[in-house]
Structures are given as structure tokens and as C-alpha cells.
């Protein structure tokens, strides 16, 4: 459970530390008027959505952290037979990195108002995500063909469950990507669309990080 404990400890420490810093020097029993709030409504909305995304990412991190902890505990048992990971996984990893880069470029293009570059990188990022999902599907078929199924042994069960769960989270991201694409088609790069692009880019970076840790774990054990 070390991984899970480390992830939880960092999440909780970050939150508690932040809250503690906020509250350390205050004197709540003193009555006074509230401070002038300089943030504009659009900045507040951006902050709200970023906090929301952070909460979602914390929950997803805890799901993967716990699965990985379970993986490491289960690995120590005698019947563990490591998989031969298909080489295609390296290519898929490259595709996912490309998705992240493209969406990051899209975010930059949206900020600078470069509509043509935005469209190209944004649609490219989505398309590459679909390529990644297709690639993962091919990996599963290759493993099946080599005789590895979900119920074959614990290592292959974990492989299918963990990679499947990662793809599911990517599909969830693609729903948000699709909604933003529709809004972009309807009204160009408005503030709401820019926020959607930013959030998608951040989420994709996060899923890339999860995948890198996951891939490292799966391929080294």
C-alpha cells in the first residue's frame, strides 16, 4: 500500500498545508468588513473550473494509486507470471505524448488568437487520442492472440483492467473535448471555449503522466 499511502499523504498534506497557511494568522473572532475582491467574474469562473478539475484529478489519481498498490501487493505471490509487453505500447506512448503536445499548442494558439493553428492542433489532438485508443485495442488483440486473457493469470488481469481503466478516462476526456469542439464550431474561440481548451490540455497532461507511471510499472514488472 506504499504507493497509495504516498499519493494520499501528498494530496492531504497539500490540502491541509494550504488550509493551515490560510488560517494560521487569522483572528476569526474579530468582526470587520470583507476585503475588496479584485478578481473579475471571468477569472472567478476560470478558477472555479480549475479547482473542479483539480478535485477530479485527485480522485482519479487515488483510483490509479490504489490499483497500483494492489498490483504491487499481488505481485509478491508465487503464481505471478509477468507478461511480455507488446512493443506497440511504445508507439502508443509516443502517440499520447503527441496528443499532449498538440493540445498544449492549441491552448497557446487560443490565447494568442491564432484560429487556424488552434483548429489544426485541437482537432489533431483529438484524432491522435482516438489513434491511441485504437492502438491500445490492437495491443489487447495481440495479447489475446498470444494466449493472454483477462482470467489467464493475475498479471494479465491487472494489465487489461489498468489499461482499460486508463482508456475509459481518456474517453471521458474526449466527451469534454467533443463538447468544446461543438462550441468552437458554433462561436469561435470565446472565453468559454478557451477555458475548455485549457482544461482539456491539463487533463490530457495528467492522463499522460498517469500513463507514463502505469507503463513504467507494467513494463518493469
Amino acid at each position: 500500500m506504499t504507493i497509495a499511502v504516498v499519493i494520499f499523504a501528498s494530496l492531504i498534506l497539500a490540502l491541509v498545508g494550504w488550509l493551515f497557511a490560510q488560517s494560521l494568522h487569522t483572528r476569526p473572532w474579530v468582526a470587520q468588513g470583507p476585503a475588496f475582491d479584485l478578481t473579475s467574474p471571468s477569472a472567478r469562473s476560470r478558477q472555479l473550473w480549475r479547482v473542479t478539475l483539480m478535485v477530479i484529478m485527485a480522485v482519479v489519481a487515488s483510483v490509479f494509486g490504489l490499483f497500483m498498490s494492489a498490483y504491487l501487493i499481488r505481485m509478491d505471490y508465487g503464481d505471478w507470471r509477468p507478461l511480455q509487453d507488446p512493443a506497440l505500447l511504445w508507439a502508443n506512448t509516443g502517440v499520447l505524448v503527441l496528443c499532449s503536445v498538440l493540445l498544449q499548442l492549441a491552448w497557446g494558439a487560443a490565447r494568442r488568437g491564432q484560429d487556424a493553428l488552434l483548429k489544426l492542433t485541437w482537432l489533431g489532438g483529438g484524432a491522435m487520442s482516438l489513434v491511441f485508443i485504437g492502438g491500445q485495442y490492437v495491443v489487447w488483440r495481440q495479447l489475446n492472440a498470444a494466449g493472454f486473457y483477462l482470467d489467464h493469470n493475475p498479471a494479465s488481469a491487472f494489465f487489461f483492467v489498468l489499461t482499460g481503466l486508463h482508456v475509459l478516462h481518456l474517453l471521458g476526456g474526449l466527451v469534454a473535448w467533443g463538447r468544446t469542439t461543438i462550441r468552437m464550431g458554433a462561436g469561435g474561440a470565446s472565453a468559454g471555449v478557451r477555458l475548455g481548451i485549457e482544461l482539456c490540455a491539463l487533463y490530457w497532461h495528467f492522463l499522460l503522466a498517469v500513463w507514463v507511471v502505469l507503463f513504467a510499472l507494467l513494463s518493469t514488472t
Binding site: D37, R44, L66, S69, I73
Partner: protein, 598 residues
């Protein structure tokens, strides 16, 4: 003293909060069924949770009838006794307590107490309830499938949870696991709302350190739940795969009914780790909202500021953080390395420090307070007693050497019912008596409430105190019948009869509560807008019950914390949070409100 408005304060600018677009229902369905108003969702959550909780109460009566009068009732056999044990535990912990505290009180109180119009994502909030409702339906359906509900115990330990011989290994366990998965998905939607609303939608002036402790308790409990429920989700998914697709995450290679099973050597201990990694924070998911609510009840009804507000907040944070490193104290008898046992016993004892700190602060809040022994106050004081009792027996069980002989005895049942069943339930009752006037606009009947309190409070002691004694004698839990067991003295059965009679009285006593709630809804005394003279924002709404949008045209501005009760020199013995400093009637005490004299 002249009334002043906030505009005279240089610190206060014009309201710049972006007004949220409120959902306006057009149909009856939109207003009462698929409603997006957090207050309606809160009531939907509460009614569903209490309804399923009544089912769980019925199941406990079944258990007690069997234990008090073994082999008397033909409708109770070993299988449905175990099913009653399992479903009682699961429903009470997750579907009643978690859902009621977070889905019920969380939804009603968070937006009102932080001065928001609604949750930040009302649509997701509405979905959250209906997904929870679906989880409850799946749970109820498991009673009616062939083989009945699962009888694996609420911890659902493999391999017996899915092995022949345990009741409900077909549809029962599958529906249970599915229902939990659905519950967690629904909760995550709600939890996201609670956390983001508290962090991002507080009204002007409502700094974190001015939030009522109720909001702090619900906030930290939600954070714990968002992080801990995934452990249960992960384990449920893996067990469901073991059960349906023949994987071996948890199921060891074993011989069942004389035949080798197809499982190839999974780890049942892995389930225990994952389950308790969720299970222990779950205790605090239930306890922290109760801690928060009881702090507010005590301050309000003792007319005194809560003692050590900042300490109370930090204690909530500390308990939340520590609750993630104590899980294996539920597993001392699982064959773990003794050094682990030592580590987890130490962390368990450390968590007692912030908890004890809270208890001292509650007692010190009462010290020389102007105590009004209202029904909510009775329940709050009852909570302190019960929580201390349950907490002290927790120190016994937290130590490995004491726990090993007491493990799986009635001592454990006595302990955890005191600390995480009766204590939070007392707070829930106190909270309902406290906020019912705001929710309905009518007061609950005081006499009935006091009868309800004494029957429940004394009755639960009559049930759980004796359990500690029979537990020390070694009477094991989860047994259908004991027969002639040598190590148990003959009086154990007499104690069991006594406990059963007490349980029947307590169960029947709850009729007083339901009668009171229904009767008062139609005939109760008019409550006015702030019958308890409380300071928090929910009592300062224009309308009672609050209408959609909570605060009329303009959101309140907060100038002070939630605990200005009995302020020396003030006109009234309470100053609501939205009263500006020089409108409070204060005359002296420059240290208390220095800006007045600036």
C-alpha cells in the same frame, strides 16, 4: 446606535460575485422530482436514506429477536440471520449515515451556510441523487433475487463472500457490488459539488476561518470520501471480475465442496487492505460532519462561542489526514507482521489526541454557558457522553495485545455502535430538531422530542453497555445461535434477553420521532425565521423555508464568525454573521472589535 450599511466601509466594494444562473423548473416533475435546487435534493436524499435506514433498523430487530429468543421464530434461519447482519451493517454505514450527512445535510446546509444561491453544478447535483437512488434500488433488489441478499458480513471478505455455503453468492453479492459501485459514482458527483462550492462559491466576507464548523466537518468528510471511496470502488470492481470472469485478484486456489476451484491463488488479505483503506476513513466520513454539527448546536444552545475555534478546525484537518494511516488496526488478527501492528497501534493512539481535544473544547464550550436545554441541546450533550464512552473503548481495541482476545466479540460491537452508530445518530436527531423549523417553517413538538431523546439515549445504553461485558466474556459476534457453549456463563442468555427487550423499546421509540415530524409538518407551532436566535446565515434568509436562490435579491455580506453569542456589551445575546460591526449594538470592548474605535 444608528444602523449602518456595508457601503460605508472602505474595505467593502460593490458586489462583484457573478450571479449564477438559477434553474427555473417549469413542470411538476422538474420542481419536485428532477429538481436541481440543492434544498429539494437534500430532502430527497434524506427521505431515501431514512427510508432505507428504517429497513436496516427492522433487520436489527430480526437479529435481536433471534439472539434474545433463539429457535423461537420460524422465519429466522441461519442464512437469513447472516443476511440481516450483512445488510444491516452495509445500509447503516453507507446508505444511511454517509448519504444523510453528506447528501442530506451537506446539500441543505452548505449553500445556505456559506451564502451561495445553490451548489455550483446543480445539474450534476441532481444526477448525484438519482444515481444514489438507483444504488438503493439495486440494494433492495438483492433481497428479492434467488438466493437472497448476500450474507458475507458487511466487510464482504473473500473468499467466503463468493464461495458456496455463504448466503446470496449468486445475485445477492453481484447486486451488492454493483450497488456500491453505483453509489460511489453518485457520491463522487455530489462530493465534487460540495468541495468546489465550499472552496469557490462562498459569499463576500465568508473567509474559510469564518465558516461554521458544520461546513468544515462536511468539507473534510467529503475530501476523505472522495479519496477513500475509490479504494472500495477498486476492490468492488476486482471482486466483481473474480465472481463473473474468473480472475483471481482475491480468490485463492482452494478446494470448495470437495472440488478444486478454477481460481489460481489470489490474495484475500489484499481485499482486507483495500477495504479498510476505505473502511477506516469511512468512520471519519461519518464522524466529522457529526463533530461539526454538534459544535454548532452546542454553541448556539449554550449561547457561547465555541471554545478554541481554530483548534477545532485544525483538529478536523488532523483527524482527516491521520485517518488514512490507521486502517490496519482492523486487521490485527490477519497474521500481519507484529511491527506493523505496533505502527498502526501508535498511529491509532495519535489520532486520539485531536479527537480528545475536540471533546475538551465541547465541554469547555458548555462551561459557564447560558445553557438552554432544548431538544437539540439534549441530543448534543447525549452525543458527548456516548462519544466519550465509545472513544475510550476504542483505546482498548487500538492496542494489539488487548485487541487480539477481544477481536470478533461483542465488545467490538458495543464499541463501534457507541462511537459510530449511536453518536452520529444522536447528532442527526439533534440536527433535525434544530433545522426542522428552517426547513418546514414549523417547530417540532417539544414534549415528544424530549421523550424521544430519553428513550433513545437511555435505551441505546441499555443495548450496548451490556455488550461490552459479554464481549469480555468472549461471546463471539455473527453467530446465529450459541447452544451450550462451555466458556459462556448461563447469564449471557439473560443479558441477551435484556438487550433484545431494550432494542425493541428503542426501535418502537422511534415512532415518536416519525409521528412528531409528520404531525408538526401540518400542525406544528409557527417557527418564525430564527427561533433559536442563531448567528449563521441559514437563519438570516428572507423567507422561511428559504426559497429557490436562498437569499432573495442580494447575497448576504459576512462581517464576523459564526459564534458571536453572548458578546459582552452587545444589544442582543447573539450577532448574526451578516451584521456589520457598528450595527451590532456594541458599546465597549475595543479589543474585541478594534475597527470600531479606529
Amino acid at each position: 446606535m444608528a444602523q449602518t450599511t456595508h457601503d460605508q466601509y472602505p474595505l467593502v466594494g460593490p458586489l462583484e460575485m457573478e450571479e449564477m444562473e438559477l434553474y427555473h423548473p417549469k413542470t411538476w416533475l422538474g420542481k419536485y422530482v428532477f429538481c436541481q435546487d440543492a434544498k429539494v435534493i437534500a430532502i430527497q436524499y434524506s427521505i431515501t436514506a431514512i427510508a432505507i435506514g428504517v429497513v436496516a433498523l427492522g433487520l436489527s430487530v430480526v437479529m435481536r429477536l433471534q439472539l434474545g429468543f433463539p429457535n423461537t421464530f420460524s422465519f429466522i434461519d441461519p442464512a437469513n440471520y447472516l443476511q440481516a447482519v450483512t445488510m444491516h451493517g452495509m445500509i447503516m454505514v453507507i446508505y444511511l449515515l454517509t448519504a444523510l450527512f453528506l447528501g442530506g445535510f451537506g446539500n441543505y446546509l452548505i449553500p445556505l451556510m456559506v451564502g451561495a444561491r445553490d451548489m455550483v453544478f446543480p445539474y450534476v447535483n441532481m444526477l448525484s441523487f438519482w444515481v444514489y437512488f438507483l444504488a438503493v434500488l439495486l440494494l433492495v433488489a438483492s433481497f428479492f433475487v434467488p438466493g437472497g441478499a448476500t450474507g458475507a458480513g458487511w466487510t464482504l471478505y473473500p473468499p467466503q463472500a463468493v464461495s458456496p455455503g455463504t448466503p446470496g453468492i449468486d445475485g445477492g453479492i453481484m447486486l451488492m457490488l454493483l450497488s456500491l459501485i453505483v453509489f460511489i459514482i453518485g457520491f463522487t458527483m455530489g462530493g465534487l459539488n460540495y468541495v468546489v462550492t465550499i472552496l469557490q462559491a462562498r459569499t463576500r466576507g465568508m473567509t474559510l476561518m469564518r465558516m461554521p464548523l458544520t461546513v468544515w466537518g462536511i468539507f473534510m468528510a467529503t475530501v476523505l470520501a472522495l479519496l477513500a471511496f475509490p479504494a472500495l470502488l477498486v476492490s468492488c470492481i476486482m471482486m466483481l471480475l473474480d465472481r463473473t470472469l474468473g480472475t483471481s485478484f482475491f480468490m485463492p486456489a482452494m478446494i470448495s465442496l470437495g472440488e478444486q476451484t478454477e481460481y489460481v491463488g489470489g490474495s484475500p488479505i489484499l481485499w482486507q487492505h483495500l477495504f479498510w483503506f476505505f473502511g477506516h476513513p469511512e468512520v471519519y466520513i461519518v464522524a466529522l460532519p457529526a463533530f461539526g454539527i454538534v459544535s454548532d448546536l452546542l454553541a448556539c444552545h449554550a449561547r457561547k462561542n465555541i471554545f478554541g475555534y481554530r483548534m477545532m478546525v485544525w483538529a478536523i484537518l488532523a483527524i482527516g489526514g491521520l485517518s488514512f494511516i490507521v486502517w490496519a488496526h482492523h486487521m490485527y488478527v490477519s497474521g500481519m507482521n507484529p511491527y506493523f501492528g505496533f505502527f498502526f497501534a501508535t498511529t491509532t493512539l495519535i489520532i486520539a489526541i485531536p479527537t480528545a481535544l475536540k471533546v475538551y473544547n465541547w465541554v469547555l464550550t458548555l462551561w459557564r454557558g447560558n445553557i438552554r436545554l432544548t431538544v437539540p441541546m439534549l441530543f448534543a450533550i447525549g452525543f458527548i457522553f456516548t462519544f466519550i464512552n465509545g472513544g475510550l473503548t476504542g483505546l482498548f481495541l487500538g492496542n494489539v495485545t488487548v485487541d487480539v482476545p477481544l477481536s470478533d466479540t461483542y465488545f467490538v460491537i458495543g464499541h463501534f455502535h457507541m462511537v459510530m452508530a449511536v453518536s452520529p445518530i444522536l447528532v442527526i436527531f439533534g440536527a433535525i430538531y434544530h433545522w426542522y423549523p428552517k426547513i418546514t417553517g414549523r417547530m417540532l413538538n417539544d414534549t415528544l422530542g424530549k421523550w424521544h431523546f430519553w428513550v433513545t439515549f437511555l435505551g441505546t445504553y441499555a443495548i450496548y453497555y451490556p455488550m461490552h461485558y459479554i464481549g469480555i466474556e468472549g461471546v463471539p459476534r455473527r453467530y446465529y445461535a450459541y447452544g451450550d457453549t462451555e466458556f459462556m456463563s448461563a447469564t449471557v442468555q439473560d443479558v441477551n434477553v435484556f438487550i433484545t427487550l431494550a432494542a425493541l423499546v428503542v426501535a418502537a421509540g422511534q415512532i415518536l420521532f416519525f409521528y412528531n415530524v409528520i404531525r408538526s409538518y401540518f400542525n406544528g407551532r409557527d417557527a418564525g425565521h430564527n427561533p433559536w436566535e442563531a448567528t449563521t446565515l441559514e437563519w438570516q434568509t428572507q423567507h422561511t423555508p428559504p426559497r429557490h436562490g436562498n437569499f432573495g435579491d442580494e447575497l448576504p455580506i459576512v462581517y464576523r464568525w459564526a459564534y458571536d453569542y453572548g458578546v459582552p456589551g452587545a444589544r442582543d445575546d447573539f450577532i448574526p454573521q451578516n451584521v456589520p460591526p457598528d450595527a451590532s449594538g456594541l458599546t465597549g470592548d475595543p479589543n474585541r472589535h478594534p475597527e470600531q474605535h479606529a
